[in-house]
Structure formats: structure tokens, C-alpha cells
Amino acid sequence: MNNYLEFEKPLAEIEGKAEELRALARSNEEMDVEEEASALDKKAEALLKDLYSDLTAWRKCQVARHPDRPHCLDYINQLFTDFTQLAGDRNFADDLAIVGGLARIGDQAVVVIGQEKGSDTKSRVERNFGMARPEGYRKAIRLMDLAHRFKLPVVTLVDTTGAFPGKGAEERGQSEAIARCTEKCLQIGVPLITVVIGEGGSGGAVALAAGNKLVMLEHSVYSVISPEGCASILWKDASRMREAAEALRVTAQDLSALGVADEIIPEPIGGAHRDPQTTIKSVGAAIEKHLKDLSKKKPETLIKERRKKFLDLGSKGLAA
């Protein structure tokens, strides 16, 4: 059973009909529905292709937030071997919204860090829906330091609505933690590759994404503010998020045009959630490719290029 997004409703109807027919046939041996059912399948397939060939910015936001979309731990478990999770900021707590540790991809030992939104009610609550607190960012800082000292490349997987807006988070210095984490990204003398696998929500995402390469999945988004937040401020109406999403230019394609994203990884037809295995494999191939390119570079070069990348940003706008 699929979780359908609002714009996938027509698709849900067709797939539902096909499913109904087949269920009927299963309970009634004499019935042969295969011809009709596969006609519906074809229709659904065509519609799916059509729907996903030209997603609006807001629809991309919905796809990026899809609950069945592969999350950070799906990537870690399926792409990496020998994953040894490392916990804690050595100061206050272990924030489960950010997971990280030592792992291998191919033969290469790396430090992998990412935001995990959780996959069911229990884990979503545990992981605070992927919204990290200062201790999460401080854990990331610690792990990046570790990577730097032992010369291990860092792979970050970004998927967060944003840093957590909470009382304790503010008291423990959410701003400072994010600022220091971004700073750490810029300081380490090892390759830093970021993949935006779902949502790149504002400063909470930047803190893990100030790296050498920014790779985005085809339907992932990365934005300074959520479309809803932007709509409520600029339009004074949160329900105008469709317009806000369009205006903010949040899609991987926009970010690539602006020189922010270095590569876009295509998703299977119908989005990553329809075929997680293929998506995860493509992400793995991209990571390995960039690791290979970057691992030849000296620490000073990596730092210098990273800085230059950000200093040079903004030299191109979007075509009118």
C-alpha cells in the first residue's frame, strides 16, 4: 500500500482499481482480470511518468518530505559497511536527530553524518523528526574533528526541516552550535561531500553542508526558509506556500542553475520512495565518484577550494 501525496490522487484511483481487480481474481479462480488490470497498470505508469516529469516547486517539497522516502539510516545501512555509530557531544547529551559514525564505502573508511527523521511514530519522536538541537551539531563537530585528525573523508546526508526551535535548544546556544558546525565544515583538511537526500531546511542544513561538493537528489529541496514560513511572513498567509515555494527557487534544478548544487542525481520515475534501492545505489555511485576525485587533493587545496566555492557564489543569477 502506497502513501499517496495530494497531487497523486488520480494515480491512487487507477492503482486502487487495478489492485481491486486482482484482489477479486484472487478470491474467484474463474475470473481472469489480468488484461484489464495490466491496462490499468500501463495507464498508471504513464500518469506517474507524466506527473513526475514536471513537478512544481511545491510538489517537489511534498516529495522531498514523503514519509516513505529513504532516510539517512537507510543510506547508511545499505551503502556503507562496518558502520560503527558514535554518540554524544561529550558535554550534554546524545542527540538522535543527528546520527554519525565510522563506516566504509567501498574500501574507503569515512566518517558519515546525517539527519535522521525516523520511520515510524516511535522513532520519529525519538529523533525529534530530524530537527537537531545544539548537542546534535556539537556531536557533528566532534566527528568532523575526528575525521580531520585521522584523515578520513566526511560524507554528510542532509534531511531536515530545520534546527529545532525549542527553549532548551536556544538556552544551550543553537545559533552558536550551528555557526561552529558550519565553521568546522570549512576548516577540515579532508574531503567533505554532502548529499541532500530530502529536505535541506535552512541553517539547520547548512551546518552540515558547507563542503567541497553539494549533491542533490532530483526531487530534493534546499531553502533559506520553508515555503509555509515564507508565505506567512511575505504573504501574511501560510496557505500561499505554493507561490512561496516557486518564488524561493528551492529545487535542485534551481540550485544547480545558481551554482550552489554541483550535481543532481536522477530519481526513479515516481520519486525515490517508489524505488528506494535504485535511489540509494545512485547516491552511492555519486559519493564514490566524488570521493575518488577529491581524495587526490592536499588538505590545503581542499580547504582553499571549499572557501573559494562559497566566496564565488552569487556571481550568477537565474536567467530572466
Binding site: 558550519t182 565544515c185 504573504w235
Partner: protein, 306 residues
């Protein structure tokens, strides 16, 4: 005090209804409601004489006080692509920009200058809250980079006064990218061993706090300034509880270890002098070193060059 202002106001307004007179001779303190005469308020660095509330101060007025004799040299900021996203909400972004430029007389939300503060050579950058809420876009990023580069070139400390609601949404992802971009600027200073001192003024929130404003060697807050990452309303809606009195204010941050000091605006210059001189190996400033700056603060500050 109140009855005087209420009584005097109409008379003065009718007396000075000529063109060159500022439109608002009186300003109401948003905290205590006292009506304050504009010249007195300016002499008091926009701090309410009745309740000590620190009101917004423009970068030029700030610099007129900070630099000896009100003399400073503006550091030019590289141009940016205006409206890189062709952003339009209920208004077009270029229209909003133009309105803000007309209102403030400034190009964008940050002014950078170099000069001497109590005979201590410094570079200073000041964010302008009256320009689209001080929001950080490409221009502000360029201004901070220009400030850091100038500080490195002249081997001087950088003092930055922050004031912003956050990033400039109208520049989308490019505004967000000013977080790492300005962090690179801070790195340039650190590498050269130059002090980076941040004075956080009301309000400093969002992506600005979560980047350069929290990366100083020293953090000084102006009294009662709102400083935080998330907006108070967003937090209340998220955690569904009322936030304590003074939450996200300078004094609260001082209590929670995020600031080094909370300093009254009138004491800032002396304090910044003493800090920068200590950090750069200069002997203490001697009082009486310089003649007192001229009183004519309400006039436009003189700039050595443009």
C-alpha cells in the same frame, strides 16, 4: 516628563514647520512611552533617557560616535546581482529594495568603515536594521567579506555590530549561502590572528546569529537586545508553552554563557578600545589623548572619501 512633552509638542511643531526641520521632532520610546526630543535622543545615542531602552541606531550615527571626531573612511563593497531570483511576493523585490534605499539613503543593510577609535586603528561593520530588517543577502555578505579583507590588509581588528531579523528571503538560497560565506570571512581574520569582536544589538536572530554573529572572539550584547536562532512565536507554537520573562534577551544569554558581556551603549566605545588594545598588544589608551568629538552629532558625519 510626560506632561511636558505632551504640552510642548504642538507648540514646537507649529514653530518649526519649515522644510529643513526633521519631520519627527519627537520620538516615543517603544518601551516606556516617554516622548523624547530628537536632538537629545541623538546626543544620547538613541538610548531612552528615561528607561535606558536601546533603540535602533543607524550605522552612520553609530560610526559618528565610534570613530574619533566622527571621521571615518567608508570601505567600498563590491556590487551584487540585484534580484538574482526575480523574486516577487506581493511586491517585486527590486521595488522593496528601492523603497529601503530611499528610506535609509543607503545601498543596503550594512556599512563598512575604517578609522580610529580612541586612536586605535580599527575596521568596523554595522548592520542597518532599518534597511529591510537588516536582512542578510549577497550585499551584506560582500560587505562582511570586504570588512575582513580590509582588516587583513591593514592588520586591524574588526568590530561588527549585528542587527537583523535573519536572512533575506528574497534572495532565496543565495541568502542562506551567506552563512558559510561570511564564516569564510571570519576564518580570514582568525588565520591572521586579528581580533573579531561582535556587538550584538536588537534584534539579532536567525541565520545571522547562526553564523558570523556567534563566531566572535568576544561577544558583547547591548542591554535587552533580542538575540536568538528561532523566533519566539515559532518556539511557543512548537513547544506549546509560554517562554520565561527575558527569554532570548542579552542578559538571559549572558546567564546562559553565550555572551561575554552586556554593555550600555554609552560605555561601548571605551570598552571596545580597551579590549582591542589589549588583544593587539597596544598600551592602554590615555584619557585626554584627543580633543572631545564635536557636539554636532545630528549633522551628517564627514567621510574622508567615498
Amino acid at each position: 516628563m510626560n506632561w511636558i512633552s505632551n504640552y510642548v509638542r504642538p507648540t514646537i511643531n507649529s514653530l518649526f514647520s519649515r522644510r529643513e526641520v526633521p519631520e519627527n521632532l519627537w520620538k516615543k520610546c517603544p518601551e516606556c512611552g516617554t516622548m523624547l526630543f530628537h536632538r537629545e535622543l541623538a546626543d544620547n545615542l538613541n538610548v531612552c533617557s528615561s528607561c535606558d531602552h536601546h533603540m535602533h541606531i543607524t550605522p552612520r550615527d553609530r560610526f559618528a560616535d565610534l570613530f574619533d571626531g566622527g571621521i571615518f573612511t567608508e570601505v567600498s563593497v563590491p556590487e551584487v546581482i540585484h534580484d538574482p531570483l526575480h523574486f516577487k511576493d506581493q511586491k517585486k523585490y527590486p521595488e522593496r529594495l528601492k523603497a529601503a534605499q530611499k528610506k535609509t539613503g543607503e545601498k543596503d543593510a550594512m556599512l563598512v568603515a575604517q578609522g580610529e577609535m580612541n586612536r586605535t586603528p580599527i575596521v568596523a561593520a554595522c548592520q542597518d536594521f532599518s534597511f529591510m530588517g537588516g536582512s542578510m543577502g549577497m550585499y551584506v555578505g560582500n560587505a562582511i567579506i570586504a570588512a575582513a579583507e580590509t582588516a587583513v590588509k591593514l592588520e586591524r581588528p574588526l568590530i561588527l555590530f549585528s542587527a537583523a531579523g535573519g536572512a533575506r528571503m528574497q534572495e532565496g538560497i543565495l541568502s542562506l549561502m551567506q552563512m558559510p560565506r561570511t564564516t569564510v570571512a571570519v576564518e580570514m581574520l582568525k588565520e591572521e590572528g586579528l581580533p573579531f569582536i561582535v556587538v550584538l544589538t536588537h534584534p539579532t536572530t536567525g541565520g545571522v546569529t547562526a553564523s558570523y554573529a556567534m563566531l566572535g572572539d568576544i561577544h558583547i550584547g547591548e542591554p535587552n537586545a533580542l538575540i536568538g536562532f528561532a523566533g519566539t512565536r515559532v518556539i511557543e507554537q512548537t513547544i506549546r508553552e509560554k517562554l520565561p520573562e527575558g527569554f532570548q534577551r542579552s542578559e538571559y544569554l549572558l546567564d546562559h554563557g553565550m555572551l561575554d558581556r552586556v554593555t550600555h551603549r554609552k560605555n561601548l566605545k571605551a570598552e571596545l578600545t580597551s579590549i582591542t588594545r589589549a588583544l593587539t598588544g597596544l598600551p592602554p589608551a590615555v584619557a585626554g589623548d584627543l580633543p572631545k568629538p564635536s557636539k554636532a552629532k545630528s549633522e551628517a558625519p564627514k567621510a574622508e572619501e567615498k
